[in-house]
Symmetry: C2
Subunit: 128 residues, 2 copies
DNA sequence: CACGATAGATTGGTATGCAAGGTATTCTCT
DNA sequence: AGAGAATACCTTGCATACCAATCTATCGTG
């Protein structure tokens, strides 16, 4: 696996957390979320975002309304957290801190220690 | 989706990083890796670990040898990083720090700010 | 010889990211 | 009017990793 596909694995789950966290700041529409979360080092592309928003709405975690803003040419679909979504994002954030602390911990230990060899005889490969 | 399945999504990719990081500390065998990475708040179960190790070996990122240790009843398969693996894990660790900083950043902004509403007219749902 | 512990491995189901492609609207330029 | 670009939302099909359940094999104990 190359590092690029690995990164897209790493993003799994994170998109949901980031989108919900952004909605915690206030009402947002699709392209706005893409701007905030999709840029350099970002975690989101539009082929990921829209199915995600649809799913979260279906699950009742977020609520949508179409808005014809005065400065906008095209109607936008604005999303807000539901009460359910607020609880979910709080729990996800707690989980994230535990999880990232664990991974960072594993990395940082590896920076100090140096390899040691296992004691014992290596078993020769069978010649058959 | 419940929070448990979400956590397993979050783990995608992280298992590889954690295993490679643990191998950076020295030679390890399967069950040992499970002890270090699989416990409470961990990122690894055995059904994940063994296919992962097989893949990493096939890709030449790690090297395995069977060891008949004096204190062990059953042969163990010990893994070490290859030169390729060392380079990979270094790059993955850099990627991880960028990624986790981004996600944590999104979360922390959401803690300060409070919701604001979009200006404009809500478009009534069509009655059809 | 049944049972549990240790150790490694496989299978099948599931969920997600995302490239590629699509629809629709509005504005600009000619 | 027509072409093209920008904005905005949406869908399809594929690749891939995680993991519960299950399996094989060895060794020690009762």
């Amino acid at each position: 696996m190359d590092i690029t596909s690995w990164q897209s694995q790493l993003r799994k789950g994170a998109a949901e957390l980031v989108v919900l966290s952004l909605l915690r700041q206030g009402e947002r529409y699709g392209v706005e979320l893409l701007d905030k979360a999709g840029g350099a080092g970002g975690v989101l592309s539009d082929g990921t975002l829209y199915p995600l928003l649809t799913r979260l709405e279906r699950e009742g975690k977020i609520v949508a309304r179409w808005v014809m803003a005065d400065d906008a040419r095209i109607p936008r679909k604005y999303y807000t957290l539901s009460a359910d979504g607020e609880m979910l994002v709080a729990e996800m954030q707690r989980t994230w801190f535990e999880f990232s602390a664990f991974v960072t911990g594993a990395i940082e230990e590896s920076a100090h220690d140096r390899p040691t060899a296992a004691r014992g005889r290596t078993i020769p490969a069978s010649t058959g």
